[in-house]
Subunit: 258 residues, 2 copies
């Protein structure tokens, strides 16, 4: 029996019984308990189960996706490169709505200091990320705070958002696909995004390579409405080519220092 095969069988038992015992598994698969423990350790570090004394438990509740400030630390170089590339398209004097998202957070942190930009956001993390400078005043839209998306959502936020007419919307995308368009994980988030799209003059999306070609459950807007997509050179592939045919202005971000 292959190791991966055995681990898959353990995962099956986990979902079926909610727990597994190390000794039990060792007997069932005719391997030593050490091997089982190694399996469980591996699976736990991959987030497939919770390791406890005597065995392992199935991951209870929803596997909590890392909050925004943690997402910001993964693939940080790529996101900084995206932000640097996107920053070139922020025109002096514009009112820019920055949607929630880790790539957008990077943009907020490295706004070009040589241009005046009025920043509006419904994400507290982004509001905090903008370095305090007189040329970059920040307006934070409030509402019911949702830790998952890292933004304020709900009816109150929507009411505030619809009063805005930003020159540029830096839209966050949980998924970006030529056919499915921009999609989001949360229905409330998607509703806010849709409203933002309607009221914004121009739209720009920052998307790391792994977002391209992926689809999240809730539709926001088609790609044809997005004027500019900033992504990585590493993203080239079928999904990238399909996006290029939609007419959007695609900007490739290289390493920062280029």
């Amino acid at each position: 029996m292959l190791t991966r095969e055995r681990q898959a069988a353990i995962a099956l038992r986990l979902t079926r019984d909610g727990k597994v015992l190390a000794g039990e598994l060792a007997a069932a698969f005719e391997v030593s308990e050490d091997t089982i423990r190694r399996d469980l350790r591996e699976m736990a570090s991959a987030g497939l189960c919770e390791r406890v004394y005597g065995g392992a438990l199935a991951r209870t509740s929803a596997p909590p996706p890392p909050p925004l400030h943690e997402r910001a630390t993964i693939a940080a170089p790529q996101k900084n490169a995206l932000a640097a590339a996107a920053a070139r398209y922020l025109v002096d004097g514009a009112t820019v709505f920055i949607d929630a998202g880790s790539a957008n957070l990077a943009l907020a942190a490295r706004l070009p200091t040589d241009r005046r930009l009025r920043i509006v956001t419904h994400s507290p993390a982004i509001a905090l990320a903008v370095p305090p400078r007189p040329q970059h005043p920040v307006t934070l839209i409030g509402g019911r705070y949702d830790a998952e998306t890292g933004a304020c959502l709900g009816a109150e936020t929507l009411t505030e958002v619809e009063r805005l007419r930003p020159d540029l919307l830096v839209l966050g995308a949980c998924g970006l696909d030529a056919v499915a368009g921009v999609t989001a994980f949360d229905p409330e988030d998607a509703a806010i995004k849709r409203r933002l799209v309607r009221s914004s003059v121009a739209i720009m999306v920052l998307a790391t390579a792994e977002k391209l070609g992926t689809v999240a459950p809730f539709f926001v807007v088609g790609v044809e409405a997005v004027g500019r997509i900033v992504t990585e050179a590493a993203a080239k592939g079928p999904a990238f080519d399909a996006l290029g045919e939609t007419g959007a202005d695609i900007v490739l971000a290289g390493p920062i220092g280029r």
Copy 2:
């Protein structure tokens, strides 16, 4: 049995019974009381229970307010009387938005059968309460369901709501005061209510006696915007008199059979 498993079982008993006894648990799980005490200590430090002499109590953080269908059973005769009085003001052919609330639920259940009324609501309970009749078509507005208020709230709901122009809004009021106006317990609920008020032609509020003169945290609309208030004869008092001076049409509901 795994330690964590046992603690989960204890947590289950806690939520079910509200309390647990150390000796009882020791017998049930066939471990020493020391082990149970260790469990309870651990759980208490994790905030899962409150440690007391002899056992532990469930964390009484949020006292769960009774859901809508339970609130409907308290003061039911008064609410039915309000509903009967309010029903007289539903004009044939009107589109009526019925806001969430137990008094409004009573109204939905006893709509006058001799008039055609297009019912719109964002409360599933109210949609279900309307007896299925061809002259009373029901439109349910969706969104994120909130069990506390018994209605759909959030950005999606607001988006749908603002497309409506109902002839009459039967507004729910958590508090009704001559000075503070109509107020609500939930900010999201209040935001939806405000939008409904803006788009409705006429507004009617059903308020039991105990609502009069009370104030909830979130402002919805001043009393001057409410065209008709239906309340109980038993409500007469200072708060009632103050309301009368605002110019609203005050309707007193008597016992049903009068």
